[in-house]
C-alpha cells in the first residue's frame, strides 16, 4: 500500500511527499483510536472492504466520487480529522475537484465548446447567403452604382462586368427613357459594347437614343436636345442591319460597306489597357456639356490618333444638322468622338479603318468619308439610333 502511495506521488512536489498520504492518515488516526478496520466500518455503517479501499487509496472500488467523499467526511468526523484536508488530498489523488460540482463544471466546459462551434457554423452559414446576395448585386451592376456613389473608379472593374451588364443595359434602353450621353464613369464600356446595346434600344423604343456607355451602367437620362418627331418606321431588313452592324477590313467589300453579323473584334487588352482609351471618358465627361464647350467633339487623345502605323487611315467628317449623340471608334479601339454634337457643328476625325459609328439621332448628322458623302443607313427597327461600320470610302 505504501508503495502504491509513493508511486502515485511521484509527480507531486517534494514537500508533499513528506506528508503522509490520505490512506496513511486514515490508518494512523484509526490506530491512534485503537480501532480495527471492522470496528470503524461498523461505526460508519460501511462494509469493511470499503474502509480498506479508503486506507489503501483504491477509490475505484467506491461506486462514485460522491460516495467516496461522503465516506471520507464520515471517517474524518469519527476519527477526529479535518474533513476538508482529507478531501483536498482526495481531490489531489484523483485529479479532479469536487466530483459533484464537476457535473456542472464539465457541463460548462462542454457548453462553451458547443457554443463556440455553433457560432462558427452560424457565421459560416450566414456568410453564404450574404455572399450570394452581394454577388448577385455585384453581377447585375451594383458595383457601378457603388462606384458612382462613392466616387470610386469603375474603370478597372469594368471589363469583367461588361458581358453581364449588356442585357441589363438593353432592358434599360428599351424603356421610355433616353440614356444620357454624358455619363462619364461608364464611358469605357462604350469601347466594346455599342452594337449589342444599341440594338435592343432601337428595338423597343422608337424614340429612344441609346448611349452604350450609359446602357452598360444601367442608368438612363433624358436627352433634352433630341428633336421631336424623329420616329422612323422600322423594317425587318433594317433590324438585321442593326443587330450586328460591325464591320471588318476583310469584309469591307461586301455590299455597301455595312456588314451585318460581323462584330468589331477588338482584343481585350486594347479595350482596357490602352491609357488613351481609359482616358477618354474623363475627357468626354469634361466636354459633356456640349453647348458650353468650345470643341466638344475633339479627339480624346492625340497620340493614339496620330499613330496609324500598320493601319489604313480613314477620314470621317461629321456635320451636325441637328443635335445628336455621336460616337466614332476606329480599328485600334481608340474613340475618336464621344459626345453630343450640337446643330451646326462639324468635326473631322482621322483613324484606322474600319470606323465604327453610332449616332443617337442619325437624321441630324451628315457623314463624309474621305471627303465623299456617305449615306447613313436607317435603323432597322425604326427610331433614330443607328450603328454601323465603315471600312473605306465608297468608290
Amino acid at each position: 500500500m505504501t508503495q502504491k502511495t509513493d508511486t502515485r506521488k511521484n509527480g507531486a512536489a517534494e514537500q508533499e511527499e513528506d506528508r503522509p498520504g490520505l490512506g496513511a492518515t486514515l490508518r494512523d488516526a484509526r490506530k491512534r483510536r485503537k480501532l480495527s478496520v471492522d470496528q470503524l466500518a461498523d461505526e460508519l455503517r460501511l462494509e469493511s472492504r470499503l474502509v480498506h479501499a479508503l486506507e489503501e487509496e483504491r477509490f475505484e472500488e467506491v461506486a462514485a466520487p460522491v460516495f467516496a467523499r461522503g465516506y471520507l467526511r464520515q471517517c474524518a468526523r469519527t476519527l477526529g480529522l479535518d474533513a476538508d484536508e482529507l478531501l483536498r488530498e482526495y481531490d489531489r489523488l484523483t485529479g479532479h475537484g469536487d466530483p459533484e460540482l464537476a457535473v456542472s463544471d464539465e457541463a460548462i466546459a462542454r457548453e462553451a465548446a458547443r457554443r463556440s462551434a455553433g457560432r462558427l457554423r452560424f457565421a459560416f452559414l450566414t456568410f453564404i447567403p450574404v455572399a450570394l446576395v452581394a454577388g448577385v448585386i455585384w453581377w447585375s451592376g451594383g458595383a457601378e452604382l457603388f462606384a458612382e456613389r462613392y466616387g470610386l473608379s469603375a474603370s478597372s472593374e469594368r471589363p469583367s462586368l461588361l458581358p453581364n451588364a449588356a442585357p441589363v443595359a438593353g432592358d434599360t434602353g428599351a424603356g421610355d427613357g433616353v440614356p444620357a450621353p454624358d455619363a462619364p464613369d461608364a464611358a469605357p464600356a462604350a469601347d466594346v459594347a455599342p452594337p449589342a446595346d444599341a440594338a435592343p434600344a432601337a428595338d423597343a423604343a422608337p424614340t429612344a437614343v441609346a448611349a452604350p456607355g450609359n446602357e452598360s451602367s444601367g442608368l438612363t437620362q433624358n436627352v433634352t436636345g433630341a428633336p421631336a418627331g424623329t420616329d422612323v418606321p422600322a423594317t425587318p431588313a433594317e433590324l438585321d442591319g442593326l443587330t450586328n452592324p460591325g464591320i471588318r477590313d476583310d469584309q469591307a467589300d461586301t455590299g455597301d460597306g455595312i456588314n451585318p453579323g460581323v462584330a468589331v473584334d477588338l482584343p481585350p487588352s486594347d479595350r482596357v489597357d490602352d491609357p488613351g482609351d481609359l482616358g477618354d471618358p474623363d475627357g468626354a465627361s469634361g466636354d459633356s456639356d456640349a453647348s458650353a464647350d468650345a470643341d466638344p467633339l475633339a479627339p480624346d487623345s492625340a497620340d493614339p490618333v496620330d499613330d496609324l502605323t500598320g493601319f489604313v487611315a480613314i477620314e470621317a467628317t461629321l456635320t451636325f444638322i441637328g443635335d445628336s449623340w455621336a460616337e466614332v471608334t476606329d480599328a485600334r479601339g481608340v474613340r475618336l468622338v464621344y459626345d453630343l454634337g450640337a446643330a451646326g457643328e462639324q468635326r473631322t476625325v482621322v483613324g484606322a479603318a474600319p470606323l465604327d459609328f453610332l449616332f443617337g439621332n442619325y437624321l441630324g448628322v451628315s457623314l463624309d468619308i474621305d471627303g465623299q458623302p456617305w449615306d447613313i443607313p436607317a435603323p432597322a427597327v425604326g427610331g433614330t439610333v443607328v450603328a454601323f461600320s465603315v471600312a473605306a470610302a465608297r468608290d
Binding site: A63, V66, V103, A112, R121
Partner: protein
C-alpha cells in the same frame, strides 16, 4: 442542422429549482446564475390598476413580517407547489430576466429559453400544469418537468444510470422527497410535506409553548440555522432571541440552546425518518441491498441542518452523508438533464 445550433446559439436553456423557500436557476454554460428566496412583495396601488410588484427575492424576503398595510410579502409556493398562480408567474418572469442579466446575455439576441422545472414527486397533475403554465407565461419557449429527487440525484453525482440502487433524500423548504433510483428512473419515491418551513414552524410553536413568547418565521429560521441540530452533539450552542411576550405584550429577549431546538424539531424530524423508513421498506430487496452497501445521499437545504445525517444513520442503520453543495443539487442536476435530454431525448429520463 439549423435546429441544432440556432437554439444553442441564442437560447439559454435554464434549469429551475422552483422551491418553496428558494428558487435556483442554472443556466447552461454559466452554472448557477440565480439563488433567491421565493418571496414576492406586492403593493396595493389603486392608481395604477390594483397591485404592483414591489420587490422579489431577497428584498422581498427582508420585508416578510415587516410590511405596512399596503404591502404584502407573500410566498407564492407552498409545500413545493404553486399556491398563487399569478404571483408565481410574475416572480418567474423576474427571475428569468435577472438570470439573463447575471449571465450577461444581451436582450436583443436573447431567445426565449427552454426551461426545465423540477417538481415534487407527489405533485398532482393540476399542480404540474400550474407550474408548466406559469413558466410558459413567464416567457419559456418550452417547459420540461422533472421529478425533484431524480434531478437531485443527478446533481449530487450519483451513478443513476447504473443497474444499482441509489437512494437520495432531498429535504427542501416545503417537502422531503425520498427516492430510490436505478437505470435512469425512479424505482420508488415518496414525498412528505415536511421541510424547512415545518422546522421553522416547529421552533415558533416550541418557543410560544415553553417561553410564552411569539417569534416570527424569520427569527425561527435564524435559530434553526445557527443552533439547530437533528441529533445531540458534543457541543451545546446558544442563541439570544427576541420576541413578543404573549402575556406582557412587550418585546422580550431570551436564550435558546441547541438541545431545546432539537426537542422542538422532533416532530418534523420524525416525519422525515418515517418517510425514509417507509421508502426502505418499499424498496425492492436487490436495490435495498445496493443502498445498504453504498449508503444514502442527502441533498436540499434541509441537509444543512446539523447532524441530520447522524440522525438518519442512527435511525436507519445505514451510512448517510450530505452531498457537496446540497442546496444547488436539484438545479445542477436539472442542468445536466437538459443536456442529456438533448442527447438522448426526453423519454429517456422521464421528462415531461
Amino acid at each position: 442542422m439549423l435546429n441544432g445550433f440556432i437554439p444553442s446559439f441564442w437560447s439559454n436553456d435554464l434549469s429551475m429549482d422552483l422551491g418553496t423557500a428558494n428558487t435556483l436557476i442554472y443556466m447552461r454554460g454559466h452554472g448557477i446564475v440565480l439563488d433567491e428566496p421565493s418571496v414576492v412583495a406586492i403593493r396595493e396601488d389603486p392608481g395604477r390598476g390594483g397591485k404592483v410588484l414591489e420587490a422579489v427575492g431577497l428584498h422581498a424576503k427582508n420585508m416578510l413580517g415587516r410590511t405596512p398595510g399596503n404591502i404584502t410579502a407573500i410566498r407564492p409556493l407552498k409545500d413545493g407547489v404553486i399556491a398563487d398562480f399569478n404571483v408565481t408567474e410574475r416572480m418567474l418572469q423576474y427571475f428569468i430576466k435577472k438570470a439573463h442579466e447575471t449571465a450577461n446575455r444581451s436582450r436583443f439576441f436573447r431567445r426565449s429559453p427552454r426551461v426545465l422545472v423540477c417538481v415534487p414527486y407527489g405533485a398532482t397533475q393540476v399542480e404540474r400544469r400550474a407550474i408548466r403554465e406559469s413558466a410558459e407565461g413567464a416567457g419559456a419557449r418550452k417547459v420540461y418537468l422533472i421529478e425533484e429527487p431524480f434531478a437531485a440525484a443527478v446533481g449530487a453525482g450519483m451513478p443513476v444510470h447504473e443497474a444499482r440502487g441509489s437512494m437520495v433524500i432531498d429535504i427542501g423548504g416545503g417537502t422531503t422527497e425520498v427516492a430510490v433510483i436505478s437505470l435512469n428512473g425512479i424505482v420508488y419515491a415518496a414525498s412528505v410535506r415536511i421541510g424547512g418551513d415545518r422546522f421553522d414552524e416547529a421552533i415558533v410553536n416550541y418557543v410560544r409553548r415553553n417561553y410564552g413568547v411569539l417569534i416570527g418565521e424569520a427569527t425561527a429560521e435564524k435559530v434553526k440555522k445557527e443552533v439547530g441540530t437533528a441529533y445531540p452533539g458534543q457541543h451545546l450552542r446558544e442563541i439570544s432571541v427576541k420576541g413578543r411576550n404573549l402575556s406582557e405584550g412587550v418585546p422580550r429577549s431570551f436564550t435558546l440552546n441547541s438541545n431545546e431546538v432539537l426537542e422542538a424539531l422532533q416532530e418534523p424530524l420524525r416525519g422525515i425518518v418515517g418517510a425514509v423508513r417507509t421508502a426502505l421498506e418499499q424498496t425492492p430487496p436487490e436495490l435495498g441491498a445496493d443502498v445498504a452497501e453504498r449508503g444514502i445521499v442527502l441533498t436540499g437545504g434541509g441537509a444543512l441542518l446539523a447532524n441530520i445525517d447522524l440522525l438518519l444513520t442512527e435511525e436507519t442503520g445505514l451510512s448517510v452523508f450530505v452531498a457537496e453543495e446540497p442546496l444547488s443539487c436539484v438545479a445542477r442536476g436539472g442542468g445536466r438533464l437538459l443536456e442529456l435530454v438533448d442527447e438522448y431525448g426526453p423519454s429517456s429520463f422521464s421528462v415531461e
